[in-house]
């Protein structure tokens, strides 16, 4: 039966792939003279829905579209991999949940908070109700039936003691990624290989980056770094985190994952370099996969990554234009430049 399911996935992706922007369009977007021209050019592409009447580019609308694409693919997938992709797609919901927690914690104005949410079509919560809850405890109370309530409640005492959202965010992130790892490990056959190759690799990079960020930005101690990171994260699990916590240079640990980071870079520069290399690798493996027959989980993941790659590059272009960066400078920062 999985053959028919993947036939539907193949059909869906082949039909939608033409909506991805082609190289000449990217070139035009990069070379746009201003933010206004960028908006006008975008308005002529399938990304037109992200351009507001005011000319502003609403990137979160595109993230909502990516979430919807994930949701559509979930319906086509065979039962074995459906649960994995459904959980992977929950990252958008978690992102919104974090936005809500920030809005409530910092008492942001309602409209502003709502405007920053990713518009999710399949959602179980009334996001405006959550934004209006008044306190972090009330938000958790409203999502009591969800799987995120327990990890958030565990971190609540620490949040109340120190007034930092970090503890809530890290609790929900760890919960999400730990379950994702378990679901990847539950796959079998070719889907298992794809899940490890795409998602496993992504999780390993995320874990490495977290550990370095805790050490470099947060100046955390080894025991804190270990407690706030994943212990099972494929090629960057507990042993890697321990080495990072004890001071291993970023270039060395990145090298173990196959990224070539010049050793002379400072820790901060190295971290940025790893992020860019990882994004480019994601884009390359997704582009390579999408040209093959897609009768496997990797096809669905590759398509979703290409969508996210577009949003990531567009974010770079929008921010680059807003800060007055020159075209070649922007192009250098795109994942597709490699």
């Amino acid at each position: 039966m999985s053959f028919f399911s993947y036939a539907a996935v193949q059909g869906y992706i082949r039909a939608r792939i033409s909506r991805l922007l082609d190289r000449p369009t990217w070139t035009r977007l990069v070379e746009a003279n201003s933010s206004a021209e960028l908006a006008r050019l975008l308005g002529e592409t399938p990304m037109a829905l992200a351009v507001a009447d005011s000319g502003a580019v609403r990137l979160h609308v595109l993230r909502g579209e990516a979430a919807a694409a994930g949701q559509a693919l979930i319906h086509f997938l065979p039962r074995s991999s459906r649960e994995l992709l459904a959980w992977y797609n929950r990252r958008f919901e978690i992102e919104n949940l974090k936005t809500v927690l920030r809005a409530v914690h910092y008492q942001l104005e309602r409209q502003r908070a709502l405007a920053s949410l990713i518009p999710l079509r399949d959602t179980r919560w009334r996001w405006d109700g959550l934004v209006e809850s008044g306190s972090v405890a009330a938000v958790i109370d409203q999502i009591r039936e969800s799987p995120y309530a327990a990890p958030l409640e565990n971190a609540m005492e620490r949040y109340q003691q120190e007034g930092r959202l970090f503890f809530l965010e890290v609790a929900v992130d760890l919960f999400y990624f730990q379950r994702l790892v378990r679901l990847i490990e539950a796959q079998s056959g070719r889907d298992a290989a794809d899940a490890r190759r795409f998602l496993g690799r992504w999780i390993a990079v995320q874990n490495l980056l977290w550990a370095y960020r805790y050490r470099i930005y947060g100046r955390m101690t080894p025991e804190e770094i270990i407690n706030y990171s994943l212990h099972h994260a494929f090629r960057a699990g507990l042993e890697t985190v321990r080495r990072v916590a004890l001071g291993a240079p970023p270039a060395v640990e990145a090298g173990r994952l196959g990224f070539e980071v010049p050793p002379q870079l400072s820790d901060l520069e190295a971290l940025t370099e790893i992020e860019v290399l990882a994004e480019r690798e994601r884009f390359r493996s997704a582009s390579a996969m999408i040209t093959r027959p897609l009768f496997r989980l990797g096809g669905a993941l590759a398509y979703l990554w290409l969508l996210e790659g577009e949003i990531r590059d567009l974010t770079v272009i929008v921010e680059g234009k807003a800060t007055g960066l020159a075209g070649p400078e922007i192009a250098r920062r795109l994942v597709r430049a490699a």
């Binding site: 869906y12 039909a15 033409s18 405006d128 620490r158 503890f167 025991e223 804190e224 407690n227």
Partner: protein
């Protein structure tokens, strides 16, 4: 038509002067005939003072609610108090009442709180000291450890192993003591000079420390006994406090309940008003009113205001607006509404299928569960349950249907006691299987017709003409089914079968065709053709599988008779009565549930899939009711 269609709605805008606002809103809320809609015309803004009032009343309602809870009283449900509601003024009186009531229970509450905390602390202390029992040293010595740090506390169960990994740099002891609700009580220890590392590791694993109670003195066994003695004292104190609670509750119940109801009603009004946009002295109240209630609403509003109120009434345009659905079923049909609402609510444009679903569900249930005796038992169970659970009447009706089919099958408690008015399923197996499929075809076609009507009501021409449940789809279904059978039996000429590819192509390209004829937006042609192909494949196989799915009605009827006769055949001998009793309980209880699930499955998947989307937005009127379905203010975000 009203039995099959949601109530017609009118978009109503009331322009209310500020002095009339409270009384008009209260009158509307008492009528429960207005579903509020958020509408903010340009230049109009909600009034911030009402947001403050709503917050004030939320606080008051919560505090009265907490007082009810601490006295062991339930917040009452039902209509609003029969007093004039003036949210701009009432809060002062409620504030005074609250202060007076709080002062009367304050001393008792304080003692109760302290006793509960004490009890909790002692329980935790007991579990900590329990783990020290094997150590034969005085507990106070552990507090004076010079070279060791010992701590006890709770943490998420999955973090215990993580902490152990995080402490890789130091020697440590970590003992999980007990786990409850995914939280583990642990004892952790390290040398004094490593206590900072231990503390950081535990904190970052969301560890919450608990401290040993000071009365735990002496060797662990003695300390435990002392704690237990103290716990018994506290328990006696709690019992006495509970007696005091009952006395206070009986004295204060009318006052606290009354104040809670008033604060709650004022809160609902303030919550609604805070969303009404204001321009100068005029507030705009927008919403949906059932057409049949419009005159009643108008006169109630004018009576409340004491003069004419400006009111704009517009016809609903369901293609442009999200119009709420209100289905008013006759009283006898209401117990069966849940058969449909469990799946979804009819949208404003959709016919409500409750009547058809009720009839078809009962027929399908009876067909699968036909036995006069088993049906009678189900009827009795349903009658017993009808005042306890919502679906009691449904069970009773299913029992009656089982009894009627029992007469048709001539079966009572698995015995062929009666003359079969129609057939016995085991003997007429083919007849009953074919009848089941035939019944399914009829039900599917009712679904097709309902879809045509729904599409017509929504003016959705592609759905009416071209889609899989529209005219093209129906033609394909009948060409496949009727044409196949007709040609097979030589009744119809073979050229009829040429219609099949033609209709398939029409169905495949229905989206670009609709885009071309009715200028509907469509995805790119490539995308549409690829997804259309898969949809066509699914549609054609779906026609066959949906129709054949009904064969289970016959199969379950046969299985029911077979299972019942098996029980009867083993019911001789000394313990035969027990086998008969257990077998009957199994059949009525277990099979009864399975048959119900099968009938629901056929309704939801095969029947509803043809015509019903159930995405209606419920009509939730502005109301002052507390509890039950009227609890919501009914303001849609």
């Amino acid at each position: 038509m009203s039995m099959l269609a949601p109530e017609p709605m009118l978009e109503t805008n009331l322009f209310v002067l500020e002095p009339d606002l409270e009384v008009v809103t209260a009158a509307l809320a008492r009528m429960e005939a207005l579903h509020l809609e958020e509408s903010v015309p340009e230049g109009w803004t909600p009034s911030p003072e009402w947001t403050e009032l709503a917050t004030r009343y939320a606080g008051l309602t919560q505090r009265f609610g907490e007082m009810l809870g601490s006295l062991g009283l339930q917040p009452p449900s039902g209509a609003a108090p029969n007093v004039e509601l003036r949210p701009t003024k009432d809060w002062r009186e409620l504030d005074t009442d609250l202060a007076a009531l709080e002062s009367r229970i304050q001393s008792w509450q304080q003692r109760l709180k302290e006793a509960r905390q004490e009890s909790e602390r002692l329980k935790l202390g007991e579990s900590q000291v329990q783990i020290l029992l094997p150590m034969d040293v005085p507990v106070e010595d552990l507090r004076r450890l010079e070279y060791q740090t010992v701590t006890v506390g709770v943490m998420p169960a999955e973090n215990v192993a993580r902490v152990a990994e995080a402490l890789f740099q130091i020697p440590f002891i970590l003992i999980p003591l007990q786990t409850r609700k995914d939280r583990t009580l642990v004892l952790a220890a390290s040398s004094k000079d490593n206590d900072a590392i231990l503390d950081r590791a535990l904190k970052s694993a969301f560890f919450e420390p608990v401290t040993l109670p000071p009365e735990a003195l002496g060797r662990p066994a003695e300390a435990l006994e002392a704690l237990k003695r103290k716990a018994r004292q506290i328990q006696d104190e709690l019992t006495a406090l509970d007696g005091e609670r009952k006395k206070l509750a009986s004295e204060l119940a009318p006052e606290v309940t009354g104040s809670w109801r008033r604060a709650s009603a004022d809160q609902k009004l303030a919550e609604a008003i805070r969303r009404f946009p204001k321009h100068g002295e005029v507030f705009l109240i927008s919403g949906w009113v059932p057409a049949s209630d419009l005159e009643r609403v108008k006169s109630a509003v004018e009576k409340a205001a004491g003069h004419a109120v400006s009111m704009e009434v517009l016809k609903a345009d369901p293609n442009r607006q999200s119009v709420p659905s209100l289905v008013r079923s006759p009283r006898w049909l209401q117990p069966f509404e849940e058969l449909v609402t469990t799946f979804g609510l009819s949208s404003y444009n959709e016919l409500d299928p409750t009547l058809i679903v009720t009839l078809s569900f009962l027929i399908m249930y009876g067909m699968m569960f036909g036995d006069l005796g088993h049906g009678l038992l189900l009827l009795l169970v349903g009658l017993w349950l009808r005042r306890r659970v919502a679906f009691g009447v449904l069970i009773a009706a299913a029992g009656v249907s089982g009894m009627l089919f029992g007469l048709l099958y001539g079966a009572a408690f698995g015995h062929a006691l009666l003359h079969a008015a129609w057939l016995r399923p085991l003997e007429g197996m083919w007849t009953i299987l074919l009848t089941a499929v035939g019944g399914g075809v009829v039900l599917l076609n009712i679904g097709f017709v309902l879809n045509l009507i729904n599409a017509w009501r929504a003016r959705d021409w592609p759905r009416l003409f071209l889609e899989k449940n529209g005219l093209v789809g129906i033609a394909l279904y009948w060409t496949l089914l009727g044409g196949g059978v007709g040609v097979g039996f030589g009744v119809l000429p073979k050229r009829v079968l040429w219609l099949i590819p033609v209709l398939c192509v029409l169905l495949w390209i229905h989206e670009p065709l609709a885009s071309w004829i009715w200028h509907r937006p469509s995805a790119s042609i490539g995308e549409v053709l690829v997804t259309g192909f898969f949809e066509l494949f699914e549609t054609v196989t779906g026609y066959a599988s949906n129709s054949l799915s009904f064969i289970r009605l016959g199969a379950f009827a046969v299985a029911h008779e077979g299972l019942s006769s098996l029980v009867v055949s083993y019911s001789g001998g000394r313990w035969g009565w027990l086998i008969l009793l257990l077998g009957t309980v199994l059949i009525v209880g277990f099979e009864g549930v399975i048959v119900g699930i099968q009938a629901l499955r056929l309704e939801y998947y095969e029947f509803f899939g043809r015509f019903f989307q159930g995405r209606g937005q419920p009509f939730v009127p502005l109301s002052l009711h507390t509890g039950g379905r009227h609890a919501s203010v009914g303001v849609r975000a």
